[in-house]
Symmetry: C2
């Protein structure tokens, strides 16, 4: 097992609705695209071996493979497992061991399509928060009207309720993420609210606005409404996990509805069918991006290690996107940069 | 001024971004469609007279008009007015007087495209809650995958935070609304949450779920996620005003994004342009329905009178839809039915 590769990422291959059939296909796609990438396949050794054989990689080839290795585990966290039960009882699960490998420095990031609640609890327990971070958050990105720009949004469901200081910290972490991963100088940070006026919203949102506007390292641009999430008025949108989860899933719902209605329109006549077949791929891509954790994965930030969550229902190309997201975060050293930012922010505050 | 018509609705003609030029055009469209409708045009008499003249109704014709009359006022609530200031200082505004006329029984409903916060505060102050109702709510409807069904959603922004009993009451009011206005027997009531499982979400949502499931008059069907708002799994979706506002405005944002992207696709080639011109009307209509307060208006329910809020940016046909929504609620006696339901629910609980 070569762990001296430039870049080592561990995959929880057992997670997700489709498990190894998807995750291992994505792994092969990833190593082909990135020659300096080493992937540790964490899970049931027999199942992994069989799936590799299906993809024309024999046990002999694996033994000498420079980019692939197996870390065998005996348990699997099920989609139906309660987080607390998984955390207590499944210490030899593929998910838990993948996180342990990140914690031990044997991998630089972990990618899983497994049970979100369990992954969040385990990651929090194993990797611990970056000093000063009160709550880790789930972050992902959505498309905007400007084809070249995306907008990060957090928290997407890791924390049901967040007080003003936690929202403030999400702003700081989101700023680092947009700066490092998308190379944006002074990312525009906005708070999701029910109106743009300063008098709108709950007290904790108003307090968070005050805290963000007082930090000179943060380019706080004010409140933003749901209708402007995609308007490229901000690079990072901050909200609590309940609101973020509802907003994100509403996007998915609208996209599905419009897709269904457009399919009906595209089958109305021969001309419509012809045109529909031309336009469908670009529409399909747009609708996929409206479901970002399915498309790019969502990252848990605020922890001492990198954890990317792919959608439970992800296909191989979506899981590949999640691996690529993890690679970016490793290359840009996102946890390290958040740590620096928090050290700096805690001395100046 | 004939106030003995079967159906009398008062319009705050000064409200909205476009004011009388839109609201009075919509009024003329409404009386043409509904011969037993009487509309009271509440606002600046000179401006109203000029706008009626533009639409070929002379002062002489108005004096004897069976369906139109003016209620002159001297003040206007501006979109920028703070609710509390409007409530205290603008007692002769078109908005306030329109609500007064409903309170005095001289009109059966009020329609306004004015400042939402001010309308909500004034309506609450003038009309008062139905006995037993803790908080009035803003309700509107969204399209579903089933072209013949819509889904009501409340609260859409009248109340930032709602405790469990307030959410429960929203469920009861929403049930009455769906039953009366859309004729649904035993409407399916769901709570918007970040997961379908019973363990998900905040304590007040879990408590509201318990309260709703214990009321045998309510067909409570459980939690629903944002992605299923449009899936026709519920007839009424209940949430607090912050979450509802974000969800609703996110729908509008996604619709705008998809519309922009599809316009780009529709202009890519000659064939695309040709097909685009064929398909655009049906797309446009769908996107409009994703912005329901612009399309149908949103109603304030839980008050002793009927108040329908049209979007500030509504055009004449959208303001007409809001008038038609008000007519429906008058015909089905929604406040009376909510009152009965609350009396019944408070004796059985």
């Amino acid at each position: 097992m070569s762990l001296n590769s430039d870049l080592t990422i561990v995959l929880d291959v057992m997670g997700g609705d489709h498990g190894p059939s998807i995750t291992i296909s994505a792994a092969i796609m990833a190593i082909k695209k990135q020659p300096n990438l080493h992937l540790i396949l964490c899970g049931d050794a027999d199942i992994i071996t069989k799936n590799l054989a299906r993809l024309k990689i024999s046990p002999e080839q694996l033994a000498n493979h420079k980019q692939l290795s197996i870390f065998p585990t005996t348990e699997v966290v099920l989609m139906s497992d309660k987080p607390i039960v998984a955390l207590r009882n499944k210490k030899d699960s593929s998910m838990r061991k993948a996180l342990d490998l990140v914690n031990e420095g044997r991998a630089q990031a972990c990618v899983s399509a497994g049970n979100t609640g369990a992954l969040f609890s385990m990651a929090h327990f194993v990797l611990k928060n970056i000093p000063g971070v009160e709550r880790p958050a789930l972050i992902s990105s959505l498309p905007t009207h400007d084809a070249k720009k995306r907008v990060f949004m957090l928290d997407l469901g890791a924390n049901v309720f967040c007080d003003s200081h936690v929202l403030y910290q999400f702003g700081v972490m989101g700023s680092v993420m947009a700066e490092q991963v998308d190379g944006i100088t002074k990312p525009r940070i906005a708070l999701l609210n029910m109106g743009e006026e300063a008098i709108k919203g709950s007290d904790h949102i108003k307090m968070a606005a005050l805290e963000l506007s007082e930090n000179k390292d943060i380019n706080y641009v004010g409140f933003i409404e749901g209708c402007d999430i995609f308007s490229n008025k901000a690079d990072v949108i901050v909200c609590d996990g309940f609101v973020g989860n509802v907003a994100l899933k509403t996007c998915e719902g609208v996209a599905r509805l419009v897709y269904q209605k457009s399919k009906t329109a595209f089958s109305a006549s021969l001309l419509a069918k012809l045109f529909g077949s031309l336009i469908k791929p670009s529409f399909k891509k747009l609708f996929k991006t409206m479901n970002p954790d399915q498309y790019n994965g969502a990252s848990l930030i605020g922890l001492r290690g990198i954890v990317v969550k792919s959608h439970g229902n992800a296909n191989a190309s979506a899981f590949l996107s999640a691996i690529e997201e993890a690679i970016k975060e490793v290359e840009r050293q996102v946890p390290e940069k958040i740590k620096n930012s928090f050290e700096h922010n805690f001395t100046v505050r």
